[in-house]
Every structure is written in structure tokens, then in C-alpha cells.
Symmetry: C2
Subunit: 595 residues, 2 copies
């Protein structure tokens, strides 16, 4: 059975040494969150993930969710109890508003905990994850009455949340939504329609399920401008509990490649009672709050699956005896050397390690921006944070889910034939990780969002700030003998990214397909530069520690991994640039019927 | 349900126009195999795959194989009947020796048919695939008595074959094999031991199963030099049928990520009767015959899964309406345009198309080398063919299985959320394709075989011949205005490959880990050059056809796909070279305990 150890030490290196979280102690929620407190919280949370959630991961995969003919869904054995334990421990509302029963800690702490939960049991972690996304939409767009009705229950874990966007004929293109909302004299609405792929749509772990549903009010304009957001609970709220059953039902559950422990439902609404969240016909912007949260969460899932897969590959590589080191026998008393002596096994392990630790840094950086955006009193700080979240969210989602899946595949490969057998659990990581590239906007959509919307926004303000920050860091450190080998290649790769950005500016206006044709490569090029920037900062922090306390093995490992990233992963940026510059002809010239 | 159409037209373009198979009509078996005959055979075979095997693919995945307590294994519904139909149609022995009941057609025809079968139903195609590999080992190393006993039955489909290498503690490192063979007075051996991951190890489709088993004769030297090969049938042959049950049993079947229709068995040998194949202690070289066959077959599986996944992604991309073309509405009468209008969808489709058609060309080229090796009367021709097979087999296996899996993942991505749902069948292609990267030597082993064994062999004779052939083609065509854009970049990428080869020569002697550290990138760099060479030849053949008969849409499509490959895939070779040249330090410096 696979194991899991929450990487609390690495998270703390980022929070303490790289991003110096103590400097934000003037912000609400940060004052109490000293590094020592954070470490204590994360250690406790990590233990919960290791001891309670991880052992349920394979069980969840094997048993899956089962729907009865009455539409109820049974979750795998142990899920219900674990959910209660998580709720009772206050883990769901770690970073939620204290006003509604949360613990008010910085978002970045919740994000770190989210990584641990998603590593331990991705299918399980989706239940609280979706709940928190729904909470955020309600808190920002809901009336005070709706907030008071739903938030404390959801944050407390008695109720869970979902998001209902997709319909059989539309996923990406939400303008095609057909679900209808009919206004009632009492101000509520009757919702009618079918939604598919609804994660956590029905289950037995909570007393109520709060669906946020996109629908079209009768007479609303066509397309995305006629879509509204509604809160549609499974049971209508009553007093401090639940009353009547609403007219909605889980029509079936999907048979999926993975995340079997999460019930993915077809939801049928048959005149179900719902209430408007936000303004009429402004449902999409309201839902986007939830989607952005969800996209960060999905990026974290990519990281999380890559991390847990890596950890198990390392254990196997140290344990499995096969062949001899080409550089001389390492294990003469045994019939063979452990496979970690082989350079190609290490290529796999180092790749995973560099992506995981670099991706974790990127995730922590973005989460800190989210905190600055919601908690800083300074408008300029908020604006920069908002800009960065805009360009970095599609990067985390699109790049870290691609790389997380790639990591899971690599980790499985280290196991050889044993990786293909279910009992070792490695193939589950691959199957589970696969969905993260697809849902909450398939990664091709993330790339389009980045290139088509986020880049040109506000005259390119966000990307310009990012370029300035990275090139500033490069300049500041290029004279430092010990930093040169890191920031030199980073500067080269940054030039590739700037070159690609320039190419879009010059070529996408005259032919919009030129942007679409290069968007995916651009997203990955950007991701490499962003993660490379993280590695340069981590190298700097590691060197500072080394100058201080002398050398600890983890510090040397950081520097070696930074070197690996620079030498073996950054070279890819040049190839991305060439592909982008090849333009749209080599994609668009082919007549559709010739495929 | 997914569909499949055998790409007979593309195979024929390769055989007729690119490789001009008619020029070999002086070789045995080729004389009767005129292009028209081949086309008729492949069309008929393709139809069998489309109509009989493909409809059983999802059934095989869902039902899987079931073992009863007596050790017998039931294959999925319909497999038994389909196997009989395949045997009766003579499809198993298409390229087998007429002396033993085969049809004696060129190997290349069997390889093409193997692609179609593996596309239609990979799990099913493994049963005849392994049988043919076993036949080849018996034909080359078995006595005439053993040949006469086994080959006609296996080629006729009454009996099937397996290969038994792996044991619980050893896969790659066969020197560790523990299975024992005790010589009996009558010249037979008693085989005792446990083998795992035995594909097609037990099933209900044939009257007998012929296991080729690696074991150690009592008193044999340690390591790989003490391993012998045995034929160990499930039932002892008797008269023209089967007699007594042998002492071997399927102990359990593995629960795997995919290829559920193929039974992967733990085989327990308890003093089972077997007969030596080849010489004592020379089992590994004898088994290598089978492994090389199997490696080609596995490379074909990668291609095959990528092809069938691609075909279904194309259908979906033309059918699914979502969003509007950024270059202007294409489908005004419908609520949205088909997603094939979007450049990023086309990036996926073009990538798959370029890999499939390029990979198919490579496969056909290698298969023709196999024919030259076994059928040419000319020693020089045979030697070149043998050299090429040596270096190109690990390329086809290692590169085409990586790319085939990547294609399956891309095709699944085109389906969005629907790709993650079992009913559409796309996730099965991903799960099935995944094993091809692992078995018959994990791809890391293919890379080591290429760099450590095949490159230096005979003073680098094979790689030198390959370099000369490709650079000769580049020189011959670079002055041609229409060929320049293809051979120019190919020449650049060839220089990267030559640079990497030179780097190994200069750096691997002083530090062997430098070879291992670059082997995987080298394999893929080589693969890109080899497939790029195929594309340049296909472009040349397409241009020749264009000058002849005027322009057909397929011919233009070939040229567009060649352009795509050159512009979007060849740029990767520079990144591979940089990674190779970064050497072993960035992999080997990390202490094992720091991972």
C-alpha cells in the first residue's frame, strides 16, 4: 500500500526562508499566525492526512460510490467518519471568515493543508474543496441572509457544497446553458434542467448539500449575458436545520477513469426551489469567483498527486534491488544494487522532485497573493496581487496539472511492471491525476484564458510587472558568483518568454489564430520561467541559510535540485519559442476532412 | 462506443510510394506479394479487425479475465469465438513459414496487420502476438522435433504461446532468476518455480498453451550465464493432440490498470515437464530472439493505440459544437462551431497525426529490414538490415510507446470531461497504452540498450551507417526548392544527434554514468531524427505523386503534416542535446537519503 508523509518541512522552508511570512504580521489573521504556530497547525493537519485520509485512498478507489434507486449515494467505507473527524477538527474552515465560524488563518495555510489532503486522498479532499469554493461565491455575492443561512453550516461541515455548470451539450461554452429558472411570487425561483459531471453532487456524509447552479431566467438574453447563479439546496433550510426535500435528484453517477471515491453525478432539477446569488444575468462573473478558487485548488491537486507519487517512487527505488551501478558495485553483500544507483532512475526522481518543490513554491506564492488581495489595506499591493493572481492562476492550473500527471506517470514507471498492478497504488495516482488536466477548464482553455484575456488585460500591466520582477531579480543577483549559474539561464528563458509575448503582439492582431496556435506552448514556457524564478529564489534562500547556520543536508539538496531544474528543464523554453513562432499555418491549413 | 478504421490506404502509400516494395520481388515470399495482393490482404484483414475485434474491446475491458479456483481462466465474452475466426482465417500465420502451415508472406505484411489488430483490440492481439514470438524462438533454436511438434499447432491457432521471464524479485535483472530445472533420465527437465506477469498465461481460447520458460539447470553458473530456455506445455503433446496435464498452474491473475482482456498470470511450476530449447546455459540469447520480436510488437502497440485514439478524437472534434472560431464564425446556422476550428484542438490532432504516420513509416521500414535480414541472399544487405534492426528496435519500442501513450492522453483531452468517462472508451486507450512503456523492457532499459550496447557495437558501424544514410538524403535533396524546408531542419536535428553521439564518445569512457544520464534524451532525440527522416521521405514521395497524377487531398495532407512535424516537433532535438550535455552531476550528486 502506498504511504504518504506531509512535506511540512518544505512548506515551512518556503514560508519562513523564501517568502518570509513574518513580514505580513500587520495583516488581519497573520498576526496570530507566527511561523511556529503555522508549523504546529500544519504538523497536526499533516498527521490527520497521513493517518486518517491516506489509508482510505485505495479503499475509495476500489469501492467507489454507489447510487441506490432512490437517488441516494453511498460513499466508500470510512469516508463518512473521516469527514466528521475533519469537520470536528475545524480543518474545513481553517482559512474561513471567523464571522461564519472559520478560524480566520491566512489563505496560504489553507492552501498548504489542501495540498496535504489532496496528496493523501484526492477524491476525499474534493468534498471540502468544493464546499469552500461554494462558500466563497456565497460570501462575495450572496445577501447577508443567504450568508448566515449557509456559511456556518458549510464551514462547520454539516453541509457541503457543489458547483453546477456543465450540461450534456455544453461545458466550455457556458453560453449554451439551457437550465431554466422561473421566478416565483415569494422571490424564489423554480429551477429545471439537467447538469452533468457534478462532483460531490450527492453523498451520505452531510445532512444537506448546497448546489450553486447556473441557469437562465425566463426571458433573459441569449448567451453568457443571460445566465444567473442560484443557490439550490438538497433540503430547504429550516430553523437551524433542514426541512422539506427539494425537487432535485441524482439521476446517475458516472463511471470514471479515477477519483472513484468522489461521486460524480448527473443532477436532475425538476422545479427545484432556489434563490438568486448576486444579480440577475450576472451569474457568470459570480461563478468565476468560485471557478478561480477551484482552478487554484485543481492546480494544487496536480502538485499533490505528483508529490505522493514521487514519495512512493523514492521508497521503491531505494528498496528494489536490480542490476549493478555502472560506476561500480554499491551493494556487494546483496545480489544487486538498489535501482536508485541508476542514472535514468534518478532522472525520473530528480524531475519529479524539481517540479514538486518548484510547484509548491509557486502555489505558496500565489496563495500569498490571494491573502494580500483580500487582506492588505494598500490599494497598490492589492492591485499587484490581483494582477498576479490573474496571470498565475491559469499557470498553476494548466502547468502543474500537466506536470503532476507526468510525475505520476514517471513514478509509476520507476515501479516497472509492479506500477501497472493495482495493489501498489501507483496506477491510481495516474488515473486520479488525469482529471485535473480536464476539469475546471481543460488545460487548453487555461492557455487561451492566459493568452487571450490575461495578457492583454489593462494594457499588459500584469505581464509587464512579472517581467520587471523577474528581470530585476536576475540583475540583482547575476554578479553574485554563487547565484550566477541559476539566474543566468533564468534570464535566457525569460528572454524566450518576452520574445514569445512580443511575437503575439506583432502577429495575433493580424491573425487571431496565431495566438491560439501558440497558447499552449506559451503557457508551458511561462510555467517554466515562473517555476525557474521560484527555484532561483529558493537557491538564494538556501545560500543565505548556508552562510548562516552552516550546511544542512536539506539545504544542499535544494541547491542540487535548483541546478537540475536549470540544466535539465529550462532548456525546453527555446523549443517552446520556436513552436510559437511557427505560427498558425501548420495547424490551420489542413482541411477538416483531411484529418 | 469508439470506432476504428484500419488505415490501409496509408500503409499502401508507404509500401508502394515510399519504400517501393515491388523492388524486393526477387526475395522469397515477395514475388507473390504484389502491391495489389498486399492491398487485398490488408483490406480483408482490416475488415476483420474493424468488425470482429474492435467491438470486443470495451467488453474485454469491462469483463476482464476471471480465474476459477481450479486455476482455469475465462476470457471475456466473444474472445474465444473471435480467436477461432482469426485462426480459421489464417491470420495468425500470415508471415509464418509455409513449412509449418504459415502463409509465407513478408513479415512487413504481418506487422501491418499487427498494427490493425492492436488498434482494434490490444488485449486480444496479445494472444496471437505472444504466440508468434514463441514460434520464432522455437523455429530458430528448437530441434526439428520440437518445431514439428509445436509450430503447426501454434501457427494454426489450436495452441498459443507465452514467454516466462519475470519472477517476483527480478524483471530487468534476469541474472537473479531462481526457477530451477532438473534433468531427467529421458532428457526432459522438471521445472520448478514461480513466474509473474505472464501475459496470456492461462485462458480458455486454445486447447493447449506453450510456455517458454527461463530457468536455471542444477549446477549451472550464477548470473545470466547459467540460464537456459525450456518449452513447457500446459498439456504434454500426444500423437496429434494433447495428453497428460503438466504440473503447472495459474496461481492468480493480476488486477491491472488496463489490458483487462488479456490474462496476466502468476504461473506456478511444480516439477513441470519441459524440454530444452537451444543449448544449456544459452537461454538468454535464445530468449532475446523472442524479446526482440516482442519489442517490435510492443512498439507497434504504442503506434496502434495512438492511431485508434486519434481517429476517435477527430470524429469528436468534428462533431462537438462548442465556442466560435476566433477567425470568424464557421457554422452560423448552429449554436456553435465544431471544436476542430480551434487552433489548440488542431495542435492536438496534428501532433497525433504526425506521430502516427511518421511512426507507421518507421515501423514499416524496420519490418522491411527484418525481411531483408531473413530473406535476402546478399550478405552485405543482411548485415545492414541486422545493424539497423539493432539500433531501431529500441527506438520503435521506447519512443513509439511513449508517444503512443501521449497521443492517447491527447485524444482523451480533446473529449474534455467526456474523455474521463468510461463509456466513451478514450480512457481505456490511455490505460491500455500505458503498459507498452513498461513491459518487454521498460523504456529506460530500451534507452540503455541503445546507448550502452547498440551504439558501440562493431565500432559504431550501425549508427555510422544511419548517419550516412540520413545525411546523404539531406545532401541529395537540399538543392530541391520543394524539399529544402524539410531536409534543412532534418539536417539540423541530425547534427544535434551527431553532437550527442560525439559527447558520449568523449565523456562516457571517463565516467560511465554520463551515458546513463543522457540515454533517455538520446533515445528520444534519435527517435525524432528517425521519424523526421521518414517524414522527409514521405514528403518526397508525395511531391513525386503530385508531379505525376496531379494533386489528391491525401497528398497535400501528407505535405502539410510533414511541415507540422518539421516546424513543431523537430525543435525539441536542441533541448535534448542540452540535457545530454549537462552530464551526470545533476543526477548523481544527490545523496540517496536526500530524496
Amino acid at each position: 500500500m502506498p504511504t504518504y508523509k506531509a512535506p511540512v518541512e518544505d512548506t515551512m522552508f518556503l514560508l519562513r526562508d523564501v517568502f518570509n511570512i513574518a513580514r505580513y504580521d500587520n495583516l488581519p489573521g497573520f498576526a496570530d499566525a507566527t511561523p511556529d504556530t503555522i508549523e504546529a497547525v500544519l504538523s497536526e493537519g499533516g498527521k490527520f492526512c497521513e493517518e486518517v485520509l491516506a489509508p482510505l485512498n485505495q479503499i475509495g478507489d476500489r469501492e467507489g460510490c454507489k447510487r441506490a434507486t432512490d437517488g441516494s449515494v453511498a460513499t466508500p467505507k470510512g469516508f463518512k467518519e473521516a469527514y466528521k473527524q475533519m469537520a470536528d477538527g475545524g480543518w474545513i474552515g481553517l482559512s474561513s471568515d471567523e464571522k461564519y465560524g472559520g478560524q480566520g488563518l491566512p489563505f496560504v495555510i489553507g492552501a498548504a493543508m489542501n495540498e496535504y489532503m489532496s496528496s493523501a486522498n484526492m477524491a476525499f479532499a474534493m468534498y471540502p474543496g468544493l464546499t469552500l469554493g461554494a462558500c466563497r461565491a456565497i460570501r462575495i455575492h450572496g445577501t447577508e441572509e443567504i450568508r448566515n443561512t449557509y456559511l456556518p453550516k458549510m464551514i462547520g461541515g454539516q453541509w457541503t457544497g457543489t458547483m453546477n455548470l456543465t450540461e450534456p451539450h455544453c461545458g466550455t461554452d457556458l453560453g449554451l446553458i439551457k437550465t431554466k429558472a422561473a421566478k416565483q411570487p415569494d422571490g424564489s425561483y423554480k429551477i429545471t434542467g439537467t447538469k452533468i459531471f457534478i462532483s460531490a453532487g450527492e453523498h451520505d456524509m452531510a445532512e444537506n448539500i448546497v448546489h450553486l447552479v447556473l441557469a437562465r431566467i425566463e426571458g433573459a438574453p441569449e448567451g453568457v449575458k443571460g445566465i444567473s447563479l442560484f443557490v439550490v439546496p438538497k433540503f430547504l433550510p429550516k430553523d437551524d436545520g433542514v426541512g422539506e426535500r427539494n425537487s432535485l435528484i441524482c439521476g446517475s453517477i458516472e463511471h470514471k477513469m479515477g477519483i472513484h471515491g468522489n461521486s460524480t453525478c448527473v443532477m436532475n432539477y425538476d422545479g427545484a426551489t432556489g434563490w438568486l446569488v448576486g444579480e440577475e444575468n450576472r451569474g457568470l462573473p459570480a461563478m468565476f469567483v468560485m471557478m478561480n478558487d477551484a482552478r487554484l485548488g485543481v492546480g494544487i491537486q496536480g502538485l499533490a498527486q505528483g508529490e505522493v507519487a514521487y514519495q512512493n517512487a523514492v521508497i521503491y527505488a531505494k528498496d528494489r534491488l536490480q542490476g549493478r551501478s555502472i560506476a561500480g558495485v554499491k551493494n556487494p553483500e546483496k545480489p544487486a544494487d538498489p535501482i536508485i544507483v541508476h542514472p535514468d532512475i534518478r532522472r525520473n526522481l530528480m524531475t519529479m522532485k524539481a517540479i514538486n518543490e518548484g510547484g509548491r513554491a509557486l502555489m505558496i506564492w500565489i496563495a500569498l497573493q490571494a491573502d494580500l488581495l483580500s487582506r492588505s489595506p494598500d490599494e497598490k499591493t492589492k492591485q499587484i496581487a490581483d494582477d498576479y493572481m490573474g496571470i498565475l492562476t491559469p499557470i498553476l492550473k494548466g502547468v502543474m496539472t500537466d506536470l503532476g500527471f507526468q510525475n505520476a506517470v514517471m513514478a509509476q514507471q520507476v515501479f516497472g511492471g509492479h506500477g501497472y498492478i493495482a495493489e501498489h497504488g501507483m496506477e491510481q495516482f495516474v488515473r486520479d491525476a488525469r482529471i485535473a488536466m480536464i476539469y475546471e477548464g481543460a488545460n487548453g482553455i487555461q492557455a487561451l484564458d492566459l493568452v487571450g484575456r490575461k495578457l492583454p488585460k489593462d494594457g499588459g500591466r500584469a505581464i509587464t510587472a512579472f517581467f520587471n520582477e523577474v528581470s530585476g531579480f536576475v540583475k540583482e543577483n547575476e554578479a553574485d558568483e554563487k547565484m550566477k549559474s541559476f539566474v543566468g539561464p533564468l534570464g535566457e528563458s525569460l528572454k524566450h518568454l518576452q520574445g514569445a509575448t512580443m511575437w503575439f503582439m506583432q502577429n495575433a492582431m493580424k491573425r487571431p489564430d496565431n495566438a491560439g496556435a501558440g497558447s499552449y506552448d506559451y503557457m508551458h514556457l511561462f510555467g517554466l520561467v515562473a517555476i525557474g524564478y521560484m527555484w532561483a529564489q529558493m537557491a538564494k534562500a538556501a545560500l543565505a541559510k548556508k552562510n548562516g547556520n552552516g550546511s544542512a543536508p536539506q539545504i544542499d539538496a535544494k541547491l542540487m535540485t535548483a541546478k537540475f531544474f536549470v540544466e535539465r528543464m529550462l532548456p525546453e523554453t527555446g523549443a517552446h519559442l520556436k513552436r510559437i513562432q511557427s505560427g498558425a499555418d501548420n495547424l490551420m491549413d489542413m482541411p477538416a476532412e483531411a484529418f
